[in-house]
Symmetry: C2
Subunit: 196 residues, 2 copies
Amino acid sequence: MSNLSTTSDDILASTRNLLISGGYNGFSYADISEIVGIRKASIHHHFPSKVDLVRELVKRYREDGQASVAVLEQKVPNALDILKAYANHWAACIEDSSRPYCVCAMLASELPSLPTEVATEVTNFFRFISSWLALVMERGSKQGELSLTSAPHVEAETFLATVYGAMLSARAYGKPEVFSMILEPALNRLTPTVSH
Amino acid sequence: MSNLSTTSDDILASTRNLLISGGYNGFSYADISEIVGIRKASIHHHFPSKVDLVRELVKRYREDGQASVAVLEQKVPNALDILKAYANHWAACIEDSSRPYCVCAMLASELPSLPTEVATEVTNFFRFISSWLALVMERGSKQGELSLTSAPHVEAETFLATVYGAMLSARAYGKPEVFSMILEPALNRLTPTVSH
DNA sequence: TTTAAACTACCAACTAGTAGGAAGATAAAA
DNA sequence: TTTTATCTTCCTACTAGTTGGTAGTTTAAA
């Protein structure tokens, strides 16, 4: 049994959890130190400043997302199935309350008050997700796997807004099932009607 | 020219602006005191604690919302026009950056880390908007002013999620026009097709 | 003369961040 | 092989500034 987790990873993991629950100003180095079990000053060794810490977290969050997307695209050929898998990923996270909110949704809502380095990284994340979804929409439309009523990039933004809005609603009501309740008809709308 | 603004109202107004930009933990009594032009301690005279201040703010935010909805319902008979007016309200706020984000969207994302008194008030706000929209959907559907593809309460949640998701996207990209880009097709989808 | 609303002057707790050092591992020079 | 130097990781101890909040006082209007 090897020890694969480094202290730096533990710090990032606890930062992610704290960030998801209370945002950028909702946690401190003291909070992290309690969870990870090292002293405050030791965190500064790994991440000199809070900006460094959160910037790195968001950067990796995007990179991990890009990697997951690559795997998904390889495994699942059908565009509609990709959208369903993406929705199901969040539905599962919210319902088992493992990662019940997106780090970047949290930070995006605080965007005007964030340090610019962090804000830039957050914007980059949304640009990535959005352009990926636009590609999925376009391909799915061409291959008859998706039925679009607007331009692919508009459908992408609509879908993204629905996912993130549903995430917020689930949190606001304290009812995880609200997410799926909203996503199900949204996906149905994109499903092509069977012609015979 | 009478002075209609009280100190207490000034405090609430600056709290709202600070809250919209950085959330519950993103502002302090010192910030408010600088803007309003009174000493920190004087704010405590009007609102003994931060919880009192934000709870009162959210309570009034909901009450103002309920009043606006009542006026809207009286002025605008058609259900689709009501939804359009609601969307236009937010589009205008975002585009002229007067109130570019909803106080309760901000607080809802921080919900798990909020004082329970505030959290309850935030949940109440969403319940109010949601049940109002459900009523609009149901009435509009019955009178042929809206074309629904799901149950009224599901359409209401979908519309709400779209509005709040679009709000987040506009903020994330720093592009106010994204809001209308998303809302336009969402409203089109609810528009009945003219039969002839 | 009572009362509301502002004030000055605090407070303890917490904030991000720094200085400097101890312990161990690694690696290169003797 | 031993010594010396460097690097990593963590530590204790500290700082300057901020946080929400309190105690007691003045001011001005009813």
